[in-house]
Each structure stands twice: as C-alpha cells, then as structure tokens.
C-alpha cells in the first residue's frame, strides 16, 4: 500500500476508499437503507396503502417514480415503508442472536465439561431447524405474523453466535495475558469485561453483519410465504408474492422489491467482508 502520510487529507481518504472497496460499498448501502427508512417516517411521495385502480401497472413516470402495482399503489412509497421492516427484523435477529449466544457461549466456555457438552448438543438441535422451518413450527401454533417470524429468525441465529463466542473465549482463556490476569487475582467478571469481550468484539461485529443479511433474506422469504409481515403492511417479500400473479401485466412490481432485497443483502455481505479484512490481522493484505 502506498505511503500516504504527509499527503493531503483528501488523497488519504481516496487511497483508503480504493483499498477498502468492500467496506465502503457496504457502508454506503447500509447508510442508504437506514436513510430510506428514516426518511419514510417524515415523507413518502404517495400513501403506500392507497388503492387507485385507474393507475394500475404504470411504468416508472414522473408522478410514480418506480411505477405502480396491481392496485395502483406507488411502488417507491411501498419500498420506502418496507425498508422499516427490513431493518427491524435485522436488528431483532442480531439482538437475540448476540445476547443469547453470548450468554450460552460464555457459559459453555467458562464451566466446561458437562455444561459445555449439554449446551453444544442443545445448540446443534436448534441449528437443525433452518429459520424457515422454525417459523413454520411457531406459526402453526402462534398463528402466522411478524412476531412468530422474527422470533424464529432470532432463535435460529443463536447457535452461530454461541459457537463463535465459545470458541473465541476458549482460546482466549488459554492465552497468556488472561492467565496472568488470573494469577494477579482477577475475578471472572473482570476477565470477562476487560479481556474476553473486547477481544471477541471484532469477530462478533463481522458475524453480526452477515447475520443481518441472512435475516433480511429469511424475512423476505417468510413474508413471501405469508408467514411474516401480514397485508396490507408493505414488506419487500410480501410485495413479491402479491406481484407474482400479475407478471403478465407489468414486471415492475416484481423488479423493485427483489432488487431492493438483493442490493441490501449484497451491501451487508460486502460490509461483513470489508470489516473482516480490516479487523482480522491474519487476512490483512499489505
């Protein structure tokens, strides 16, 4: 990497961006998503739920920037409002996964032997249920809806986080500086806060972005199947389901939601890759 110290700040930023394409692109897309959702609370071009049969299947125009769907509803407004659900699901899924995963992984690493074995088997059992399957199970009992969907996705992310935390804690607990801290009389809490958590944070962050991306895909799939967000609330997956029957009339109601999902997931994956490149000393390319 070319030496940039001493050069103009603008050149340094350019050099950094060029060397970290993944991270930059991912961040940009994530910001776009958050901005879209935020803006949607203050302004949307049209009422996303307003039905207007005379304007069905309009192609993109000045009035309807992305066109209209089979009920004449503005696609751009629906996409904007749909982005709220996207973010919510991602945050909930990562939230559940991180908190429960941290707890279980930490317990497994700390107490070892039987606790570890039991927890790992339990996590394997949970991991045997893909989010879709869990959602199906929960929906059959709780009724289909956003709650059962988000719960299912959240639970299915726990094993990944738990295993990551456990593996990391185990190797950290063997390391010299932790053993030194113990020898100096540090208790469990102190070791956890000052040594284990900070050193695991980077890996957890990378995993969080990947999990976020997977959660979005899972939510889209669930909404498509009718197991997630219920009509008339716009959700990108739901929009795809509704639009499929009218493919012959217009491709736009199918195009934009799918594109939105793909771009968002792509962005988050790139972000995860970019973060991994930056944070993991082993993969740093110099």
């Amino acid at each position: 990497m070319t030496e940039t110290r001493g050069q103009l700040p603008r050149l340094r930023i350019e050099a950094w961006v060029r060397g970290h394409w993944n991270l930059t692109a991912g961040l940009a897309i994530l910001l776009l998503l958050v901005a879209t959702a935020a803006v949607s609370y203050y302004y949307v071009p049209h009422d996303p739920n307003r039905i207007n049969i005379t304007s069905r299947f309009q192609p993109p125009s000045e009035r309807y920037l992305l066109g209209t769907d089979q009920f004449g509803r503005d696609l751009l407004s629906r996409i904007m409002v749909g982005s709220r659900v996207t973010i919510l699901v991602g945050v909930v899924a990562v939230g559940i996964g991180l908190s429960v995963g941290l707890l279980l992984g930490g317990l497994a690493a700390e107490y070892g032997r039987w606790v570890d074995e039991a927890l790992m088997r339990l996590l394997d059992a949970v991991a045997a249920y893909p989010p879709l399957l869990l959602a199906v199970l929960l929906a059959s009992i709780m009724g289909p809806g956003p709650v059962s969907g988000m719960l299912a996705i959240g639970i299915s992310t726990v094993p990944v986080f738990a295993r990551l935390v456990r593996a990391n804690f185990l190797s950290l607990l063997e390391s010299e500086f932790v053993q030194a801290a113990r020898a100096a009389g540090a208790g469990n809490a102190r070791i956890l806060w000052r040594h284990l958590l900070p050193n695991t944070a980077a890996i957890l962050l990378v995993q969080a972005t990947i999990t976020f991306a997977n959660a979005i895909l899972a939510e889209a799939a669930l909404s498509y199947l009718g197991l997630g967000t219920q009509p008339p609330h716009p959700s990108w997956g739901r929009m795809l389901r509704e639009a499929q029957d009218f493919l012959v009339f217009s491709p736009y109601p199918t195009l934009w939601p799918g594109l939105a999902i793909a771009i968002t997931v792509l962005g988050l994956n790139l972000l995860g890759d970019g973060l991994r490149d930056v944070l993991d000393p082993k993969t740093r390319r110099r």
């Binding site: 088997r121 399957l133 059959s140 009992i141 199947l225 197991l227």
Partner: protein, 314 residues
C-alpha cells in the same frame, strides 16, 4: 477411526432426540389448547373434547412425551387431522417431487460451483476471477424466489418454452415432469452454486499457497496434474464440510421455490398444513426435516474424517 465413529454416532442420537423434543416442547410451551387451535374458536366443547382424546391431549405431559418418542422410533409421525392419513405416507408421497428437485438443484450447484471456484482460484486476479467473485456475491444476495419469478417471466410468459408451474406425475408423463422441475431446480441451485463458488475458491486459494504445491511445481509436475491431484482433492475436503450445510439450505429453500412454481412437494404440504392448523402434520414434517438435516451433518462428518486423517485422531 472406530472410536471417532462411535463418539459421533452417540452425539447424533442425542442431538436427534433433542431436536425432536424441541418440537414437542414448543407445542407444550405455547399458550392455548392445541385441539382448540385446530378446530378454531367457534368449535363446541364436545368437539374439542373429542379431538383432545383423539390426539391424546387428556394425558399428562410426561406420558404424552414418552408415547410420542416411542412412536417416532417406529416412524409413526401421527395422523393428519385434515387428510385423515398417516403423516408418514403423506411425506413419502410428496417426496416424489421434492427429492428429484433437490437432487437436480444440488447437481447444478456442484457442476457450476466447483469448477468455477477452482478456475477462479487458479487464475486469481484475472477477468474470470472477477466474474466468478461477482457471480458469487450477487448470487448469494439474490433471493431464490425472486430468481424463480424472473425465470417464469422469461421462459414461461415471454418465451413459452417451459411450464410456469404445476406438476405432472412421473407415472403420467416423465418428460413433462422433468421439464416442470427444470426452472425450479435452476432457481434453487443458482444461489447454492454462487455460495459453492465462493467456498471452493477460498479453499483452493488456501491450498495453492501451501508448500507442497510449490514443491510439486518445483519438481516439474505438470500444472494439470498439480491441480487434479493436489489442489482439487484438498480443496474438496473443505467443501465436504460445508456440503451438509448447503443441502440443509437447499431443503429449506425448496419450500419457497415449490410455492413459487406451485409444485406439490413437501414444502407446499407443510405450508398448507400451517394454514389449516393441521398440527400433527406440521409437527411430523418439521421433525422429519430436522432429522434429515442432522443425518446429513453426520454423513459429512464421517466423510470428512475419512478424507482427512488428521481429524480422526483429534
């Protein structure tokens, strides 16, 4: 090897037991009476009581649990409330669609993913590598049901080459049955192909930087032989570990793809069961799928141990 196999088999049994129990426990934990859930809110108390007796709900939980486990061991997954048929029979019937579909998708994924990943790794930095990486990233991010919808748009609506959905029985017209599985298999397999490309590429890259590759080339071994005998074999070990995950993903995604193309497979069955509140059917299919996924994981671990001697002695 023996010790490892025995240990792994025990783990498998325990995990299957836990996974199956999870389904049972969800039913217990969720508030509400299952019989009432099935019959709906306007059902009379007599009907609810009758269904309770039929489902064995009047017994204490521990008794129900033991009976349920015993039934599972005999492959008795209960009886569907809606169809009145044994769940197992319904599953087997639907497998006639889901199994070929999954097999076709997996084959497609392997045929595209492995060579592409290998070529990308051996020609790192080239146009092909760029294309492969882009394909991988975009493919992973694209929802398979969206791809399916677009395939329908292009090949069924515009070109009219292939059916947009539905399925003719194998016994009726095998050719048409195959055609109706073609688009779904592409939609299903493309995402996995992208995922495999990524995995194979990074596994191959890791192998290519190893010392023994450098030695082989220094010895004068032809590049083709280097790739075949060393790179491919060792990279495939890493691939073998993720194959079970990929197939599990395939199974889960097949539920959606079957819905897109209205195929009468296991996926559409379980979804209609959810909508009909057919709890025994949902339970049976879910447990079945979870066990299949665990079995795949077992096969992969055994395969991995067989291919990589280092694992057996850990």
């Amino acid at each position: 090897m023996q010790a490892y196999l025995i240990r792994r088999a025990i783990t498998f049994v325990i995990t299957v037991w836990l996974a199956a129990s999870l389904t049972f426990v969800t039913l217990l934990v969720i508030p509400g009476n299952p019989a009432r859930i099935i019959l709906g809110t306007d059902a009379g108390p007599a009907a609810v009581a009758a269904l309770e007796r039929q489902l064995g709900l009047d017994q204490p939980a521990s008794v129900r649990y033991v009976r349920w486990l015993a039934d599972l061991l005999r492959f008795d997954l209960g009886t569907s409330v809606v169809y009145g048929l044994p769940v197992w029979n319904l599953i087997v019937e639907r497998l006639r669609v889901t199994l070929p579909l999954t097999a076709m998708a997996l084959t497609l994924a392997l045929i595209i993913g492995v060579p592409l990943g290998l070529f990308a790794a051996t020609r790192r930095g080239s146009v092909l590598d760029l294309f492969a990486t882009a394909f991988a990233q975009i493919g992973i991010a694209t929802p398979s049901f969206w791809l399916g919808i677009f395939l329908i748009l292009v090949f069924s609506v515009r070109l009219r080459w292939l059916p947009a959905g539905g399925f003719t029985a194998w016994s009726q017209d095998a050719g048409r049955a195959f055609l109706s599985l073609l688009l779904p298999a592409v939609a299903l397999g493309a995402t996995r192909a992208a995922s495999l490309t990524r995995i194979v590429r990074s596994a191959a890259l890791e192998v290519l930087s190893a010392d023994y590759i450098r030695t082989a080339r220094a010895k004068g071994v032809a590049e083709g032989t280097v790739i075949r005998r060393h790179v491919l074999r060792n990279a495939l070990i890493s691939v073998a570990t993720v194959v079970s995950l990929e197939v599990a993903q395939l199974l889960a995604t097949s539920i959606i793809v079957e819905t897109v193309f209205t195929l009468p497979g296991l996926g559409t069955l379980v979804l209609s069961a959810v909508n009909n509140r057919d709890l025994p059917l949902v339970q049976g299919i879910v447990v079945c799928m979870a066990c299949v996924i665990l079995a795949l994981s077992l096969i992969t671990d055994v395969l991995y141990a067989y291919l990589d001697p280092r694992i057996r002695y850990s």
